[in-house]
């Protein structure tokens, strides 16, 4: 039986959506996945070159282009290698086979007599003078992919597995790389006065007062509750937008309170209750242990505020954006503007790392809306820093209570993960809307909150089921119906809070029976790939000589298999605590199957570790009456150079297993390792992130 086609190929079956032979003797591979600093364009090029037997330099990758590239939805959820990469490999395998058929016909031989060396066709060891480009005209790429040509065996991979340097990095060390830097002469700059919240109504705007502050020429575009300031001087329109906040009067403004910024607030709020797994036992399990853990709302906090470019010319709208999916953006903007989808082209340009659904799509909609009102003008919107912090969707708060029934030996026999959380996915078109569309006269109706089901990797429920051998387990997910702010996808969705909770619980259960946390885990873990990682990371960090608890120094462990079906990571953290937590060292061993670009993969593992430490120790979005109040880097601090630990990160041999995405797999285990190391150092557990000085002091009391 052949495996089902990757969804990317089901949605985009024509070969020419993926591959073209160009006259300059290169092959162009198109992908819907986009570069967000994770190295995907480099890695997909490696896969294509490998399968086609081409030198890497002969492959060029076109990424995120609605006119010419495939629709692969969003660049998210660690799917780009697993799904996008499989699609590219299958397409290349099939095109290679078609090329061999053509050349065999020309040479009157069998395709099996032909081998490929750097794109040239060799017949029984002899050069034929033929290559991909001599037969390219005879290969019908308008056909649909069949997916029946078996790709190379992993053992034959030559370019996959190499540390090919990132293609995008040279521009990024030379100051030329980002959408923010496309400042062509004549471009009109724009800034938006943000509607404070969905449903808020602009009562009055004192335009004269704004003009007194922002001296210079600019237009004010006003449509229902959407207001934009547009002009040639970026500084002038920026000043106008800042001034406008003080000269706009709104009603139906939602007031937030500091209590709502805490995960504990979620309990007791209206929710849709979504059970998963085996039914709860009729009677409470014997030896029931319960504990509650939490993570607050956290920000994507991209280093660059969102930016977009748009131009409406001769009835066609061209948008350039750093969003995670250009085809979805095109659909969503078309729907919001009420224009045919064919009249929009969306192209990806590089932005700063986004780590999920940030303000990128909203900035693109702002720009599109303004460009439609100013035909023939090239419009650029760049959000302000405080706008990004205050209006990007944030990662949802989560409150997790674990109810664990123990067997007579003290190991889990019955496990319930109970979760309170707002939705983790509110992308426009699937549960969410574009901000500017909400400000127009006929805003889209609010969608009923939803969350990805466990079968699709889960949202709040991601990694809520322990990886360990637990005879009965279930999830009770309370999906918050009316959260105070807009929440959406943040790196790993619920994986970090859930893994933090589960792994914290395991350490405490081990302590109940006086067992070492590593030994306790190995006693209830039959997955050989996971066991191997635990054993290896324990050896690397010298786990055997881990000291006693409560000394101010701690060593802690965390383990997860991302989404319970993707890459494995085991992490050990060493911390010291002197009022504040300092992570001194990290050891990480990961298993992501066959790795396309090992150095690039390690870079992603390291990044996930650092970001997870930052979330665990420092980050919380804060509210006041005006909305999100943490609007700069002082009120929303992230981990700095002086706080980043030494890291030793390894990938085990993939053993021929399929390649798995690695961008998110270290986040949960890292938070868990830090949590367990802190508990070891203090001799007391902190259940709530972030681990502030106040929480450390409280744990010590």
């Amino acid at each position: 039986m052949t495996a089902p086609l990757p969804t990317s190929l089901v949605d985009n079956p024509r070969l020419d959506r993926w591959i073209r032979f160009l006259p300059d003797r290169t092959v162009r591979i198109a992908t819907g996945k986009v570069e967000i600093g994770q190295g995907i364009v480099t890695a997909l090029g490696q896969i294509a070159a490998d399968e086609l037997d081409l030198p890497y330099a002969r492959v060029v990758v076109l990424s995120g282009n609605t006119d010419e590239g495939p629709d692969e939805l969003y660049t998210s959820s660690s799917h780009s290698i697993e799904i996008g990469g499989s699609a590219v490999r299958l397409v290349c395998a099939e095109v290679r086979a078609k090329a061999l058929e053509r050349v065999a016909l020309r040479l009157n031989c069998s395709p099996t007599d032909i081998t490929v060396a750097e794109g040239r066709f060799i017949q029984n060891g002899v050069e034929t003078g033929q290559d991909y480009w001599t037969v390219a005209g005879e290969i019908d790429l308008s056909q649909n992919v069949k997916g029946t040509t078996a790709p190379k065996a992993t053992i034959a991979y030559a370019i996959v597995g190499q540390d090919i340097p990132r293609l995008d990095l040279p521009a990024k060390v030379s100051g030329a790389a980002f959408i923010h830097d496309v400042l062509e002469p004549g471009t009109l700059h724009a800034r938006v006065l943000r509607q404070p919240n969905r449903g808020a109504r602009l009562v009055s705007l004192d335009e004269a007062a704004i003009r007194r502050v922002a001296k210079g020429e600019f237009r004010i575009l006003r449509e229902a509750n959407f207001v934009a300031f547009v002009g040639k001087e970026e500084g002038v329109v920026n000043a106008a937008a800042i001034a406008a906040e003080h000269h706009a009067e709104w009603d139906k403004v939602r007031r937030l309170t500091p209590e709502q910024q805490e995960a504990a607030w979620l309990k007791g709020q209206p929710s849709e209750d979504r059970p998963y797994g085996v039914p709860a036992p009729a009677m409470a399990p014997r030896n029931l242990v319960q504990a509650t853990y939490s993570r607050p709302y956290v920000a994507h906090a991209s280093l660059a505020p969102s930016c977009a470019l748009a131009e409406y010319l001769d009835g066609h709208l061209t948008i350039q954006s750093h969003g995670q999916g250009m085809h979805p953006l095109r659909r969503n903007v078309a729907a919001a503007l009420g224009i045919p989808i064919e009249s929009i082209t969306a192209k990806h340009l590089h932005g700063a790392g986004c780590y999920g659904h940030n303000g990128a799509d909203d900035a693109a909609m702002d720009t599109a809306l303004i460009a439609m009102r100013l035909p023939g003008e090239r419009v650029r919107v760049r959000w302000r820093r405080e706008e990004e912090f205050a209006f990007e969707p944030v990662g949802p708060a989560m409150l997790i209570t674990l109810h664990v029934g123990l067997d007579e030996l003290g190991y889990p026999a019955d496990w319930t993960t109970e979760i309170w959380s707002p939705t983790h996915v509110q992308r426009p078109g699937s549960g969410g809307a574009l901000l500017a569309a909400e400000a127009l006269a006929n805003p889209p109706a609010p969608a009923k909150p939803t969350d990805p089901p466990v079968e699709r990797g889960g949202g709040a429920t991601r990694n809520a089921i322990p990886l360990y051998d637990v005879p009965a387990h279930r999830i009770l997910h309370h999906l918050t119906q009316n959260p105070p702010i807009r929440t959406s996808a943040l790196r790993g969705l619920g994986a970090l809070p859930n893994v933090f909770a589960i792994e914290s619980m395991l350490d405490d259960l081990a302590a109940r029976i006086g067992q070492d946390p590593l030994a306790y885990r190995l006693a209830i873990l039959s997955d050989p790939r996971a066991r191997r990682l635990l054993e290896q990371v324990a050896e690397r960090c010298g786990w055997a000589s881990r000291g006693t608890a409560g000394t101010g120094k701690g060593l802690g462990l965390g383990l997860a298999k991302y989404k319970n079906k993707s890459a494995y990571a085991a992490v050990v953290a060493a911390v010291t605590i002197d009022e504040e937590v300092r992570v001194e060292r990290i050891w990480c061993v990961a298993d992501a199957g066959v790795v396309v670009n090992p150095d690039g993969a390690r870079n992603q593992l390291e990044g996930g570790i650092v970001q997870a430490i930052s979330w665990t120790l420092k980050e919380q979005v804060r509210f006041d009456g005006q909305g999100i109040s943490s609007r700069d880097w002082e009120s929303y601090p992230i981990l700095r150079f002086s706080e980043v630990p030494e890291m030793q990160v390894e990938l085990v041999d993939g053993a021929g297993n399929p390649p798995l995405g690695i961008g998110e797999c270290t986040c949960g285990p890292t938070a868990a390792a830090v949590g367990n190391a802190v508990a070891h150092a203090l001799g007391a557990r902190i259940h709530d992130m972030p681990f502030t000085r106040e929480r450390v002091m409280k744990a010590l009391l």
């Binding site: 400042l183 001087e233 590089h350 790392g353 990044g607 150079f641």
Partner: protein
């Protein structure tokens, strides 16, 4: 108001009305877009440039304060033919992910190595601590600065 200053070794003049930041002049008037806007509050380091050799954040520095002074931006690091050893070391270490922070970090690293050719890890951390990197490429960046320092010492011998 006309203000003259030196950028990457060339004398430039700009005509400005009212107060304008050095960052806006570099990016919007002179087309030197390698210096990034990050926060506008001198909190993130994305807009770091050298003013008379000292690292300074350009986002809220009034242009009038740099009149007659010498500014170096990321575009001034490399020559037409070759990358600065710091840029090469960042590529060799693959020190970066999204790369948005790198212009500013390279500038601060250059200032450090110009005054201290053999910095310790602690000194490099201190020189870069004003800079935020959200992707978590810190350790690679520190190694890259050490690598560049070593390469530059080798070259000057």
């Amino acid at each position: 108001m006309s203000i003259s200053f030196t950028v990457n070794g060339e004398t430039r003049s700009v005509e400005l009305e009212g107060s304008t930041s050095l960052l806006e002049v570099l990016r919007n008037h002179l087309g030197l877009t390698g210096t990034r806007f990050g926060c506008g509050l001198e909190q993130c380091g994305s807009c770091m440039v050298l003013v008379d050799g000292e690292p300074m954040q350009a986002c809220s520095r009034d242009m009038a304060t740099v009149a007659g002074r010498s500014v170096t931006t990321i575009e001034g690091l490399s020559t037409k033919d070759s990358l600065h050893p710091l840029q090469q070391a960042f590529l060799d270490e693959q020190a970066g992910q999204c790369g948005y922070c790198l212009s500013g970090i390279l500038i601060s690293a250059k200032a450090l190595l110009d005054r201290n050719p053999n910095p310790s890890r602690t000194e490099i951390v201190a020189a870069l601590d004003r800079h935020l990197c959200r992707c978590g490429a810190h350790q690679r960046i520190l190694k890259a600065v050490e690598r560049a320092a070593s390469a530059m010492r080798g070259r000057s011998r």
